[in-house]
């Protein structure tokens, strides 16, 4: 009985508002010690690591902390410096560009690959493993291998030139304007597999009857995929999307492995700025200001999600 209880609990909270509207039909349950003991470490970790640390980060972003955090408040000075620093502005541009592009390509290619896999091809297991494999590799390894491939003196460019096409150019990492595309390629190669796997699971989850119905109505396959099946796999898409988002916000290792933020500072990312300032540059205040700014879009997203949930719940309770 005890094992079932948490599931019940979950359902209870999710439809909590609805349940209240229906009325006090439930009987009082026995206090469940096991679930409390089981979730305590998680609660402690969440409160300790996330809430307290985030609060301290925000507080320190208003101080002039160097190596040792202190409480000499200096107002918005750290933020003023942050937003007048070229490197930070470039970092912010980069992460939006990298984020949006990798989202489009990963989701797009991921879906196309999933559709391709869905054609009951031979050796599907093999292909699936091959495409998913990059995700199992560390981004540092991925980044390093791509860096070598894109190195003008020993990579693809050098190889093709040796074959005789001497004007061939493929060395995106050496130029300011193109370096971010090089990183994007590495990122997509790494991330597209897992999107495909999730999308494929979503596709397979769609009821076969739908396909039969679409066939009978004479709808072409591509339209079925795009307009019938795609909207039905909202859950899979949301999962893939959120995984992509977390990957983008914390993008760090692939950039360090491929360009170290260069050439110059053209491929810097916010996370590198934060880490560098709280470690070698010994300016915790500045690093914390940057970290707080990184938190902002996430907070806005979460607030938005809560707002939408709240609105949906209100609609539902009104409907009843």
């Amino acid at each position: 009985m005890a094992q079932v209880a948490p599931v019940e609990d979950n359902l209870g909270t999710r439809s909590g508002t609805a349940a209240k509207a229906i009325g006090p039909a439930r009987t009082r349950r026995k206090f469940n010690y096991q679930s409390v003991i089981g979730t305590t470490p998680m609660i402690l970790a969440a409160v300790g690591v996330f809430v307290i640390c985030i609060i301290f980060s925000i507080i320190w972003s208003f101080t002039n902390s160097k190596l040792f955090p202190n409480f000499n408040f200096i107002g918005m000075a750290q933020y003023q410096r942050l937003w007048s620093t070229d490197r930070w502005l470039i970092s912010v541009n980069n992460i939006w560009f990298f984020g949006i592009m990798s989202m489009i390509f990963n989701m797009g290619f991921g879906y196309l690959l999933a559709v391709f896999m869905d054609q009951r091809i031979r050796q599907e297991d093999l292909f699936r493993s091959i495409i998913l494999y990059p995700f199992a590799m560390s981004l540092v390894v991925t980044g390093l291998v791509w860096q070598w491939m894109m190195d003008p003196n020993l990579g693809i460019q050098a190889a093709v030139r040796q074959w005789g096409w001497t004007s061939f150019q493929f060395a995106p990492l050496v130029k300011n304007e193109t370096a971010i595309y090089g990183i994007l390629i590495g990122g997509i190669w790494n991330g597209v597999g897992v999107t495909m796997a999730i999308m494929l699971a979503g596709l397979r989850g769609v009821d076969g009857e739908i396909w039969k119905a679409a066939k009978i109505d004479g709808i072409p396959t591509w339209r079925t995929y795009l307009f019938i099946v795609l909207p039905m796999m909202r859950g899979a898409i949301a999962t893939a999307f959120i995984l992509q988002c977390t990957g983008v916000v914390r993008v760090f290792d692939i950039v360090v492995a491929m360009t170290q933020g260069g050439p110059g500072i053209s491929t810097q990312m916010p996370a590198i700025y934060v880490i560098q300032h709280i470690t070698d540059r010994v300016n915790v205040g500045q690093g914390m200001a940057a970290a707080t700014m990184m938190l902002m879009p996430v907070m806005i997203l979460i607030a938005l999600q809560y707002f939408l949930q709240w609105r949906a719940a209100r609609k539902r309770s009104k409907a009843i």
Partner: protein
């Protein structure tokens, strides 16, 4: 219950043993990972282990920034290493003021460090408010250019005698299929080369007024404009592969005669040594500026974070004393390619380049104090970013870069 008693007994025995003097492991964090550097650091490790008892535990972390970051985090986290490498200057000032370091004053007084270490600016990095907080182990000068003699021969031109002279000869090198100016794309390498050009063009006095006293009339003045312009002129003579290249891979281009010159500190000499190249025949070391050579007083120091374990503390003092002893100084610096911090050292094994450096350092007028003494890591980092951006982004104008340079210097703490 029996088990509990046994466990308690073992614990008591283990705790008891700490009070007895015993050998300790001293973990040393450093960033000496290239071939020449490895040869040098193993001198320390070998000599320390040979003293008997204590053991050197090597923690090499590639890249100075990463190694220093690891050390700082470990000290803050309460798990300090036995010893750690830093560059002399302001990188560790808060460790001193925060009381995180072992005071070496007694040892230093006994061994008379204050008089044997020269020049004075080297000991000033460790001697703060009358207390010794670290051990300088070598003097490294940034103000060198390394030239491949066969590369210049191939292009049919003489070795350069000034920056302008080099820029005039560089097209010839390019025609001969040689990379005229070798540089790695990491920001510290770019800013380092910029600093050398700046020192040469401004002269030592103006440089000190600029970086130490923050004289804005120089920062905004025409001399600095010229420095930026000259630096940009170098860019056209670098190669495509320079992005992300390590300094030692870049030096290797000179070693293998693929490139003309590299502006890099004298740690590069170790790479020539490892490759078996001879100064004056295979490569030339040009002390910059050529007409009035200077050396900068960069280098490395080791500091010893406070440790609760008395055995470790004893071993730390032993290590400090060993590092500065004349014999080890000679062995270490010969392998490293740096200059010893004391004069009473047998440098008869030194090559011509080092002898040149040792000659220059004798006159205090030739000494360019390392900019790290005056600028915090934060400021240096901002300059690294700016100069790297200026180097790689051709759309950034000289005026724009100079204005930003002024802003950084104005805000410097």
């Amino acid at each position: 219950m029996n088990k509990l008693i046994t466990a308690a007994a073992i614990l008591a025995a283990a705790m008891g043993s700490t009070s007895v003097a015993r050998a300790a492991d001293v973990e040393v964090i450093h960033w000496w990972t290239s071939g020449g550097e490895q040869a040098a650091v193993s001198v320390f490790a070998r000599e320390f282990d040979a003293l008997g008892g204590d053991k050197w535990v090597d923690t090499a972390i590639a890249g100075g920034e990463n190694a220093r970051a690891a050390t700082l985090q470990r000290i803050l986290g309460g798990d300090p290493p036995g010893a750690a490498q830093f560059n002399p200057g302001r990188q560790y000032e808060e460790l001193i003021s925060g009381g995180q370091l072992l005071d070496l004053t007694d040892l230093a007084t006994k061994e008379n460090w204050a008089t044997v270490i020269r020049p004075a600016s080297i000991s000033a990095a460790c001697l703060v408010d009358g207390h010794w907080w670290c051990v300088p182990v070598n003097i490294h000068s940034w103000n060198w250019a390394w030239a491949s003699i066969p590369a210049f021969k191939k292009a049919g031109v003489e070795l350069p005698t000034s920056f302008d002279d080099f820029l005039a000869k560089a097209p010839k090198l390019k025609e001969a299929g040689i990379i005229p100016f070798a540089i790695g794309g990491e920001s510290w390498q770019i800013n380092g080369a910029f600093g050398v050009i700046q020192t040469a063009m401004l002269g030592l006095d103006k440089r000190q007024a600029l970086l130490k006293d923050k004289d804005m009339s120089i920062a905004e003045g025409p001399d600095m404009t010229k420095v930026f312009e000259e630096f940009r002129a170098f860019k056209q003579f670098s190669d495509d592969g320079s992005a992300n290249r390590n300094w030692n891979d870049t030096t290797n281009l000179i070693v293998t005669d693929q490139a003309g010159i590299q502006i890099m500190g004298d740690w590069a000499r170790g790479e020539f040594g490892v490759a078996g190249k001879k100064p004056g025949v295979d490569y030339a070391c040009l002390a910059l500026p050529v007409d009035h050579p200077t050396v900068s007083t960069g280098g490395d120091i080791f500091l010893f974070p406070k440790n609760k374990d008395a055995a470790v503390e004893a071993a730390q003092l032993k290590l400090a004393s060993m590092m500065i002893s004349p014999r080890v100084q000679a062995l270490f610096n010969n392998a490293k390619g740096s200059m010893p911090v004391r004069d009473d050292v047998d440098m008869s094994l030194a090559d011509d380049c080092m002898k040149k450096g040792l000659e220059i350092i004798k006159d205090p007028k030739n000494i360019a104090e390392d900019a790290g003494r005056w600028l915090s890591n934060d400021t240096t980092g901002q300059m690294n970013d700016l100069i790297a951006q200026f180097w790689s982004d051709d759309t950034m104008t000289v005026a724009d870069a100079q204005a930003k340079y002024v802003d950084i210097l104005k805000a410097a703490d």
